[in-house]
Subunit: 600 residues, 2 copies
């Protein structure tokens, strides 16, 4: 059974030493009182909940899965999930970063980010139940009527009710313009929804009193395609004017998917048989309204793989220090033992350090993005809000796709460290790989993310958002230009920055001639951009660590030594991947499109 | 449910057009009569068996798995497995490439290679039952006494009995020197074996009358470590002098592993409670004897991933042509339909072509290696046998590790083509990914393969084997140097060849100073070497295709067009990976070893 120690020290490093979030947050009126000690205390408690309550349910939850009672349409979640959720609600965790107006604690998003990383490390399948509620809450907050807000937000905030996003149908996932679920207006201003939704995460379960479904559907005579889609809120049980639950709404779970992983989460087929809903936002403007949820959800998916990468690393590192097998090629190291621990083997270390560098780099990026959201929500400076929003738009597809691709690589490496035991369910490592796989698909496949990055975020405004981020990098490189100890980090960073600029220009010109050139290069491009962003954060982390070492002298905390070694590993062994990626991106469209479809 | 069409045309291309195996085989006395028509007919029948009998059992077999009756120690395989095996035996397939002396058909190994690729495509878990028998058979053939051969080989040849390799114990996998199973000599010349083995594939089942276990164990007072290990043959049921089955031998299945994949294969824990065995080969020489099996098994594991890559590709390509979703960025292609088939999207094609290029490249390499084995076995020319043996020694770790790593990448890509549906069990794609994962681990992890390649096969003889293969490449490059149409293939091939030579020299010098440098670079090196070998075969395949196109003119078979497009894709989009790998390999040991073990 895997173990998990919440990485509080590293989170504190990112929050306080790298990003100095308390100083940044103090500039935001609503967070003026926040201090580091409070933040650390919250995370310590959150970490305890993750490690003590959720982690023990992860492996059994995977083995048991969810079960549907076809007669009642009710779903039973794995043993212990319901009780854990009750504790989570009791602890006030769902309300952590929600506005006080609806009963929330109003703490910054950076804390919620760290909390969720730990929940995901402990149990991704469980964490999706409260995780989906956040999106529903934000969406209703942004687009709901006062009535809808009053009805749903307090219960979603407290977590007594949970939420879902109902988008996908059997014939459409990425292409929501094709969706067919219908909404018929009723005399009382409500709508009756009829149709079939699939792949609805946390779509039915026994953990909450009610489930608030946000459903995309078409009004009668809606325009075809994506401009004819409206958004509705459809509760599992209707809500009476006094807030108590009324009769069951006919939105029924008619099937659960058998999946590669996240078995503990109910992936529901939902059949709407004239279910009552109310319109959220404007008619036919459902897709943009839903995208409020989608952007948060994409960051959330990156966070899932960040959590898996961390926990897989921790377990693989522990195993590598214990497992005795063979001798180092350079001669025995543990001479008193029958063999050396496998951590003496360079490639075992390479696999471990890959996971570690991806976890720590991902953590820095993800917390940075959470801070951008805090600024977007709470700054009273228009320019700062705009700047944060631009940066976040650029970084969101990178968080989603780069961190989840890295999570796939990292969890697979960590499985490999266990040798044959990694393939056996009881060790828990193969579950991390299976769970990690979905993160590359849902909330927009990683190909879709790459098109979003290169097509919409980079090329569509002539690289303005990219240049903005590039200026941060250039300023940092400039600043450290005279710091001898930083050359090993800033030189490759600057070099990659130049290459990305050149590549972007080249791709922009190609795309001008043929839009499909974007699709041919986008996945490689995103991975190169991801490395540029990681290289920037790794260089900044190295700077902090070097400064602390200098400051502390001989008594320096070994945490900084480890940080520097991991930074050096990142630049030496992971960043070079960009050389091949850039070549592949530049090879363009022709090698992909030349072959006639019939020949595949 | 996945579909599968045996790739007979592509196999015939490799056999007859690329390698001209019939001409090569005719030089080997025992295969003087072989002709292409016979070979093709055998493969057509083998393909039918795979597609019609095995494929339908693959998905249900994964879902049902194997069950152990703890009282009787008997294992029940999934529904239909037993009956399919009976048909396989009835069809004479186990005997295909076995020497006629023991009842085999004596057909060349190249045919068995192609047969097994198809069996693996259809059902890897099932194919492991007969697959393991081959190793046992070869091992007894090479090292058994006349008595042992007479007792076991005919039944293993016909497939009435199956075989296993019993190496791993709970505390040792890679490091067999640590193994503890004991063998006590008895007055009658037999031995009583006592101990615990784990991870024994096909270790217990209901498909054959008897199971022939080849077991590594220690004799009393054996030297410690790997030089004190002996090999024994231990049947599940003792065999009477007349060949009939006697009493049950106490080698019991005491547990089945719950694994990530290959659920249809019984991965057994075997407890030996004084089981009767006889010594195979010399005392204390068990490990080298077992390695006869291991080398064949490693090629077999590469073949498993080759099979998975092919079948995953076929299904993803079919899905991509049918699934309608979104429009091409460059404008609608299927204007009469609500959306374009997803094969219009460049990245979908990139994922498909990656799988295709890895499948076809892997097939060329694997059949080439099988032909080397035919030469090793059947040539009467010492030099030719030596040359084949040297080449095979070099290529075996590449087949094992490069093809299985590629299989992991390819099956994951093919899953991704299905979007969310790829994650759902009923589509069958996620099973391919789970099944593919074990191939990177068993029969020597891919890290072990890389050390075998760089340390033992390349550096230990100062690159002699590598140079031998390099001369094949150089000759080809030289030969095509004036062929204008071939420049796009031979130039990058020659360039990579030069880089590998340089890298090898550099690593050899580093390793001279510190043996751990081998471990630091080996995995990157193997992948670069794998690309060099693939580039060689892809260039040769392109040459054949170009020649055929020229010969056939306007009526040219579109098979050759597809082959050329796939070759161009390989050089444009996959080969560039080597740029990053070479950098990473050259970055050396320090970034891996600098961090103190305690800081992990």
């Amino acid at each position: 059974m895997p173990q998990y120690t919440p990485p509080l020290r590293d989170m504190q490093f990112v929050l306080h030493e790298l990003l100095d979030v308390t100083s940044e947050l103090k500039l935001l009126p609503r967070h003026a009182d926040i201090d580091a000690a409070t933040m650390n205390a919250v995370l310590e408690e959150g970490g305890k909940f993750a490690a003590e309550v959720l982690l023990p349910l992860n492996l059994p939850g995977d083995q048991e899965g969810c079960t549907l009672d076809k007669a009642t349409h009710e779903v039973r979640t794995p043993k212990g999930f319901k009780e854990a959720y009750a504790k989570y609600v009791e602890g006030g965790w769902p309300a952590l970063s929600v506005e006080p107006e609806f009963g929330g604690q109003g703490l910054p998003i950076v804390l919620n980010q760290c909390l969720y990383e730990m929940l995901n490390s402990a149990n991704q399948a469980w964490t999706m139940y409260p995780g989906l509620s956040h999106g529903a809450l934000e969406c209703l907050h942004a687009h709901g009527t006062e009535e809808q807000k009053k009805t749903y937000l307090p219960k979603l905030t407290s977590g007594v009710w949970t939420g879902t996003m109902c988008l996908t149908e059997p014939h459409c996932g990425t292409d929501l313009g094709l969706l067919r679920t219908k909404a018929e207006p009723q005399a009382d201003g409500t709508y009756k929804l009829t149709g079939q939704k699939i792949f609805i995460s946390a779509g039915e379960h026994d953990m909450a009193e009610n489930i608030v479904h946000l459903v995309l559907a078409r009004l009668p005579e809606a325009p075809p395609g994506s401009k004819g889609i409206s958004l509705f809120v459809v509760p599992k049980s209707n809500v009476k004017p006094d807030g108590s639950l009324g009769e069951r709404n006919p939105i029924f779970c008619t099937g659960l998917e058998h999946k590669m992983g996240i078995h503990g989460n109910a992936t529901a087929q939902l059949t709407l048989e004239g279910a009552t809903g109310t319109l959220v936002g404007e008619p036919h403007k459902g897709l943009p309204a839903m995208f409020v949820m989608m952007n948060a959800a994409r960051l959330g998916v990156g966070n899932q793989s960040l959590g898996l990468t961390e926990v897989a690393y921790q377990n693989a590192a522990a195993y590598a220090k214990e497992r005795l097998q063979m001798r180092a090629l350079s001669g025995p190291k543990a001479k008193d033992k029958p063999a050396d621990p496998i951590i003496v083997h360079p490639d075992v270390r390479k696999m471990l350090l890959t996971a570690r560098a991806y976890a720590e780099g991902g953590r820095a990026l993800a917390i940075y993005c959470a801070l951008l959201i805090d600024k977007m929500i709470a700054s009273d400076d228009d320019d700062e809000r705009k700047d944060a929003s631009d940066q976040l738009a650029l970084l969101t597809p990178i968080v989603k796709a780069f961190i989840t691709d890295n999570g796939w690589i990292a969890t697979s490496h960590c499985l490999q460290v266990f040798g044959g035991h990694g393939y056996i369910a009881e060790w828990g490592m193969e579950q991390y790989v299976r769970d990690a796989r979905i993160n590359m698909i849902y909330e927009g496949t990683n190909t879709v993310q790459s098109l979003d990055l290169l097509g919409r975020k980079v090329l569509s405004d002539n690289g303005a958002k990219l240049k903005k981020f590039g200026r941060l990098i250039a300023a940092f490189v400039e600043e450290e230009g005279t710091n001898e100890a930083m050359q090993e980090f800033v030189n490759p960073l600057a070099d990659l920055g130049d290459k990305v600029t050149k590549l972007t220009t080249e791709l922009g010109m190609k795309a001008f001639a043929n839009a499909d050139e974007v699709g041919a290069a986008a996945v490689d491009y995103l991975r190169v951009a991801g490395h540029l962003v990681f290289a920037y954060f790794w260089a900044r982390m190295a700077k902090v660590a070097l400064a602390k070492q200098q400051e502390q002298g001989e008594a320096a905390d070994s945490f900084y030594t480890a940080k520097l070694h991991t930074a050096r590993f990142y630049f030496a062994k992971l960043l070079p991947e960009t050389a091949g990626l850039i070549r592949s991106a530049r090879a363009g469209l022709a090698p992909l499109m030349a072959m006639d479809e019939a020949l595949f």
